[in-house]
């Protein structure tokens, strides 16, 4: 446990005088585990110190935190509460009873999955509240979890969260027998500018998906190119994790690059890039005709179908990415593609579409797994993988670049290796060709 965590936990404990109950308590070398070992500390609330609430609602963007009337609908759908003890309604009550969220572990738990806002009758908007609060904490110089801080630094320095050099961004394409035009080197007008994204470009399993995409585009005769080494991270997760300045840096760079190229359509691999370019870049003067790749391909489904000649005889379920589904309302395109796959046996998970569970990677969560392990009893991705297995799936299909690695890790950590394969939809399509 890092020093940061220890400090956090001590601070929390000082504030929250609730009772402590340990599963296994060892005192002076003697195991005193059992129902009688509960050690009660004073539980009475002796003040309602609302200064933390007042301070938070004064931050521009975070005003709606003060609107919560404790209906508790958010807790029923909060993916973090599902595996821990955290949710908007609980945050509100803690704020009324002395919590200063700006120096609390609660500041970093929200994945901005938007399930709470979907059901909130008062429109308490955690998607605006959390980034605003995090930005304030960062500006105030409060401690940021180390792994997230490292991601911020990598992004600032290298233009991607991994800290890889820009030069290596196109490395994956070199092994391919398909031509992926690098427009930054040879500018020419294309129909489709493909925003590849960091995980497709740098992560091993992402490379598989990127290669699949290039092959599928090529088979479909798509006239496409990429920004090559000039592409940088979309910046959306940095923004949601509180680094608005970093987001603006990334966005300005990408907008400049987009504007220097001639294309009709931007196609992105990932929902986070989709969200950034569709909803955030226009605020900075960059407005583009952007589509997630599932949208782009599902519109060409008549052309795609005859190309898929190999049967994919597997039971497949699909995980809706929060930023494609709830955030941008797209539930049909990925399903249209999956249903077009020959031989596939498709089935939904219990929590799907609007009600879809979160993988835990959004809002900076991708770089907070170590931090979160002290706050939740299992990873969100583990919870999700168990659900996929419960519905009898052999393949968990995804269409967000964060998810392949997250879910593959979760398959291993839950002891389900060999039982569930995690594939990007583009990989399934590619396998059928």
């Amino acid at each position: 446990m890092s020093q940061f965590h220890k400090t956090m936990m001590r601070k929390e404990k000082e504030k929250d005088q609730s009772f402590v109950q340990k599963e296994n308590a060892i005192v002076d070398g003697i195991d005193i585990s059992g129902h009688w070992n509960r050690m009660y500390e004073p539980r009475e609330l002796t003040s309602y110190d609302t200064s933390g609430l007042d301070a938070l609602r004064d931050i521009p963007g975070a005003e709606s935190i003060g609107w919560c009337y404790q209906c508790a609908q958010c807790i029923g759908v909060c993916p973090v509460d599902n595996v821990g003890d955290y949710g908007p309604r609980k945050i509100f009550r803690k704020l009324q009873t002395g919590l200063n969220i700006l120096d609390s572990a609660d500041l970093w738990q929200c994945t901005t999955c938007m399930n709470c806002l979907r059901v909130c009758p008062k429109e308490v908007d955690m998607i605006k509240i959390m980034p605003a609060a995090r930005e304030k904490a960062i500006l105030d110089g409060n401690e940021v979890p180390a792994e997230l801080q490292e991601m911020f630094q990598n992004t600032a320095e290298y233009g991607n969260p991994m800290g890889e050099s820009a030069r290596k961004r196109t490395k994956w394409a070199k092994k391919l027998d398909v031509d992926v035009r690098d427009l930054s080197k040879n500018p020419e007008a294309v129909d489709v500018l493909w925003f590849v994204g960091d995980y497709y470009a740098y992560h091993g399993r992402g490379n598989d998906a990127a290669s699949a995409m290039a092959r599928v585009f090529s088979r479909l005769g798509v006239d496409f190119g990429t920004l090559g080494a000039e592409e940088k991270c979309d910046g959306d997760s940095q923004r949601l994790a509180g680094e608005k300045g970093l987001f603006e840096m990334m966005a300005e760079h990408n907008i400049e690059q987009f504007n220097s190229q001639e294309f009709n359509k931007l196609v992105v691999s990932g929902p986070h890039a989709y969200n950034a370019i569709k909803n955030e870049y226009p605020k900075m003067g960059g407005t583009y005709n952007v589509e997630h790749y599932t949208q782009f391909l599902s519109a060409m489904i008549d052309k795609l179908k005859p190309l898929m000649v190999n049967s994919f005889d597997k039971k497949v379920t699909f995980h809706d990415p929060c930023y494609l589904g709830r955030h941008n309302g797209e539930y049909d395109a990925p399903r249209a593609l999956l249903n077009a796959v020959p031989g596939i046996e498709f089935g939904e998970m219990f929590r799907c579409k609007e009600q879809g569970y979160c993988c835990g990677g959004g809002g900076g969560g991708m770089w907070l797994d170590g931090f979160m392990s002290d706050n939740i009893n299992e990873r969100l991705s583990e919870n999700r993988v168990k659900e996929a297995i419960a519905v009898g799936a052999e393949v968990l299909a995804v269409c967000c670049p964060y998810e392949v690695s997250r879910f593959e890790d979760a398959v291993k950590s839950t002891g389900n290796e060999g039982k569930l394969e995690v594939l990007d939809i583009i990989e399934i399509i590619d396998r059928c060709m």
Partner: protein, 290 residues
């Protein structure tokens, strides 16, 4: 046509007389006080929901609408003594300051209103007569009217105030099983007034269910929470004790599942409504169910 007898010159009685006059009916308003306007005037209400209109001004509009109207016969300082016969032929005996008079009326509207629940009644709830800083909504109204909300114990501005809902309502032991329906809205409105008068005063409302129907929901309750930063906490107070120069409210914060003991500078009891003496007497006289 015989006139309609309206018993009570408060908001309801005045509105009834105006409505009857509008459609050409004669009426007689009987009011036991020497003034019209009922509880808002009698108890010095400050403002009315949802628009914060001054209570006196609002009542004057209602009074002016019937005063000098040929169709409305106003009898102040008058009570109803007896009744004989049934609608549409009723002989009702009125008692003025000196004289008794029998009037012939076609029908009767009973608008005798309510009394505020007395929190000292029966169970001496919440130490109302014991602690100076435990007051009722009615006591608070008088202070709001003077734009001077203070701690009765020392005349200073409070820094922390709470409202306790459902005092005298929804209680089998007290015998009032009904919800008084308006207290949630009135408490929310008063909370707004405290926040406007004393911006650095924290205000809490402890409730069982927040029953803010109609405009009381978003125009008063939501407004109190969202714009005026009033804190609503689910779980009402069990009892009040004194500690130093503050009163301490004891109960459970139910959405946290934790007991609470919070010092307050002023506690406002959101007292509900009971049928007034006049209402009880008229119910008996006219054989109306209560």
């Amino acid at each position: 046509m015989k006139p309609v007898l309206i018993v009570g010159g408060g908001p309801a009685g005045l509105e009834a007389a105006r409505g009857l006059a509008d459609i050409g009916y004669n009426s007689i308003i009987v009011e036991k006080n020497d003034f019209l306007g009922g509880k808002p005037i009698e108890e010095h209400y400050s403002v009315l929901t949802p628009d914060q209109t001054d209570a006196e001004t609002a009542m004057k509009v209602k009074i002016d609408a019937v005063t000098g109207n040929d169709l409305v016969d106003i009898r102040t300082n008058t009570t109803v003594l007896a009744t004989d016969g049934d609608a549409p032929n009723m002989m009702v005996t009125l008692k003025g300051k000196v004289d008794e008079e029998v009037v012939e009326v076609g029908s009767v509207i009973v608008a005798t209103g309510f009394d505020h629940f007395d929190p000292g009644k029966e169970t001496q709830m919440y130490g109302y007569y014991e602690y100076d800083d435990v007051i009722t909504l009615v006591d608070a109204e008088k202070m709001f009217k003077d734009k001077n909300f203070v701690r009765p114990s020392n005349g200073e501005k409070p820094k922390q105030v709470c409202f306790i809902q459902c005092v005298g309502s929804r209680d089998r032991q007290i015998g009032n099983q009904w919800c008084s329906k308006v207290c949630c809205g009135v408490a929310s409105q008063q909370a707004i007034e405290i926040r406007e008068l004393i911006p650095d005063c924290r205000v809490f409302v402890f409730y069982i269910d927040l029953r803010a129907y109609g405009f009381w929901e978003d125009d008063v309750y939501w407004k109190a929470q969202e714009q005026h930063k009033v804190n609503f906490v689910r779980g009402i107070v069990t009892e009040i004790t004194q500690r130093g120069d503050q009163v301490v409210v004891k109960g459970e914060d139910t959405t946290l599942g934790r007991p609470m003991e919070i010092p307050m500078d002023v506690v406002v009891l959101s007292v509900g409504m009971e049928p007034s003496e006049g209402t009880k007497a008229m119910a008996e006289m006219f054989k109306l169910p209560l």
